[in-house]
């Protein structure tokens, strides 16, 4: 299956030890396999607490998942030291997928249930507030439409399916677009019908854990962006047999109708 081609990607996996609460590894597996099956070499760099910030510059694609509160505290301290590097990469258009806690980190601040304000990295124009303990967490299966938002039409689908589980409600500022519109579920804040965010080639989303295996069109879109950014030319990915992925995707959409 694996061929030697001239293409190679380095994926930077931010805090795999701490920001990996619920199946986040599925995204790294999906990205790696979908590259390998096409003969694109992949190296996954695990960037855990205390990593050398210079390692970031060697990455062509970044991924960071969600975490439990205690883990998030530890990561936030470390991440502050890497703020400058991460900001430069995001501004430069290095593709990245930031899920749940990671998505919230990139914003201006997170207001906790007891109204304590935790400053974010302030890279993306958004903020998150937890409305307090009398409000339910937003939990459940979710379907999102990417149609009409800022991603070009993808190969076979303009929907994404996943699962969300978050207490914080995220609100987008003027300088950032949503990733999609909620068809079923809650999304950013259960009020404005938006889900996630896109800024340049960085994507934030509440579809937690393994978002990419069941949304291979989105996985491929991120891979393509990373290759094109690295090799500075248009690259067409060879098609894969995605019948099982498509079925897993469609079954969920039908189930939720």
């Amino acid at each position: 299956m694996i061929h030697n081609t001239k293409y190679k990607l380095t994926i930077g996996w931010l805090y795999p030890e701490l920001m990996s609460t619920y199946g986040d590894r599925g995204n790294i597996i999906a990205l790696s396999k979908r590259c390998e099956w096409r003969g694109i070499k992949v190296e996954v760099k695990k960037l855990d607490v205390g990593f050398d910030h210079k390692l970031l510059a060697a990455c062509h694609l970044l991924f960071m998942g969600g975490a439990q509160d205690r883990q998030q505290e530890i990561v936030s301290k470390d991440l502050k030291l890497k703020n400058k590097d991460l900001r430069e990469m995001i501004e430069d258009g290095i593709p990245g997928l930031y899920i749940c806690g990671a998505y919230q980190f990139l914003g201006k601040y997170y207001k906790e249930a007891d109204e304590t304000i935790i400053p974010g990295l302030d890279i993306l124009d958004l903020y998150t507030e937890n409305p307090g303990e009398n409000h339910d967490r937003l939990i459940g299966n979710i379907v999102v439409s990417l149609g009409g938002v800022s991603i070009p039409p993808l190969r076979w689908k303009n929907t994404m399916v996943g699962f969300e589980n978050h207490g914080g409600r995220t609100y987008l500022g003027k300088n950032i677009k949503p990733l999609g519109k909620v068809i079923k579920g809650f999304g950013n804040n259960e009020e404005d019908g938006t889900e996630g965010a896109i800024y340049k080639n960085s994507f934030g989303t509440y579809l937690h854990g393994p978002i990419l295996p069941k949304n291979p069109h989105f996985a491929d879109y991120i891979i393509k962006l990373a290759l094109e950014k690295k090799y500075k030319k248009t690259i067409a990915l060879s098609p894969l047999d995605d019948s099982l992925e498509l079925q897993a995707h469609e079954v969920m959409i039908k189930k939720l109708k």
């Binding site: 299956m1 609460t21 619920y22 590894r25 396999k33 439990q68 295996p213 897993a248």
Partner: protein, 431 residues
Amino acid sequence: MVKILISIGKIISQISRSLNLGNGSTWPGHIALKINKNFVRDALATSDQRLKTIIVAGTNGKTTTGKLIQAILEKSGNKVFQNEAGANLLNGIASSIMMHSKNGKITSDFAIFEVDENSLPLVLQQITPDYLVLLNLFRDQLDRYGEVNTIAVKWKKAIEQLNNQTILILNADDPQIAFLGKNNKNTKYFGLEDKSIAIKTPQYAADSTYCPNCHYKLTYKTIYFSHLGDWFCPNCSLARGPLAKISSYYPLSGVYNRYNTLAAVLVAKANNVNNETIQQSLKSFSPAFGRQEIIEINGKKVQIFLSKNPTSFNESLRTVKELNGKNLLLVLNDRIPDGRDVSWIWDVDFEEFIEKNINITVSGDRCYDIGLRIKYIEPLIHNTKYIIQENLGKAIKVALNKTPKNDVLYILPTYSAMLEVRKILTGRRIL
């Protein structure tokens, strides 16, 4: 009042059984608690003085440990009752008290209650147990239980409210569980001391690898699985406590069952059961339903390994591999008892446990999700064929057909899937 409620409960339970509304393991208790929210406390207060209560909690192993304790205590001549597996909220406990009362009074020597992680604090407000057995805390059903740390904090508070009547039986190898015994003199610790069954690299789904006291990263001298092992904190020097000296025969396969067995033996020893009786009862032990239970069907052996979260799935796979299993049926449901979120299957180390030339069939409500997980093990299982069959009955048939005679079909289901599998295989309904 307690007497009247118990009589009503028994009638409800009978009606519920005869109308086939389930076997009545939660309804009567539910109604009794509606009428008297302190029903459990009141009922236990009117029981015989000799009644001792044992509570068993933890993410994995409650049912097996409870059944092991029951087997040993009964063998040594005690009258023991237990709430039904899975009916482990306060209403299930109330129901079991009603069912095992005579003339409004409990006449047993021991009551064993397995308790749901979230319900433990509430249950401890009603029952001050003689023994509190805490097995482990793993990530499980994040959508229902929340985070591991949150539960650990709630447990700590609940335990601090207990008086010194309760003896804590704690897993020393799970840092968060061990920490619950800090500063409590009535604590006995069980743990493993066998490097031959240790694993070399930490598993991906390990949760509590940070010090419960100072949050510094823990160091492990030995890891048995997930975050269980011989640990210490290089920062505040908190470490695994001294283990009770026990050795035992292990009636069930799997490292996880060694912990369950040690916990049960420790409870038995604390009750002065002699070692001979303990070992005898373990040798004749038969597993709880769905927990390594063996069912014969058309001359073929089927063994069911309940696999409900990443750690339990990993340990099932590891045990099946040790048993040289070649035929697998994985059944993934996403109903309320399973958790609605199936993301966790990506935390299971299939890559490590699935070898070449294994027959895999997958089924369940989320058969395409688990099928996809198997697909992405490639190229490790290149040449290994897997079949996706939505209909569970057909899937069992297909998997059995692929299993050669004299071979075993290993079924790894989530909770509700396990009940369905049993119903199909035995034609009986449970819970």
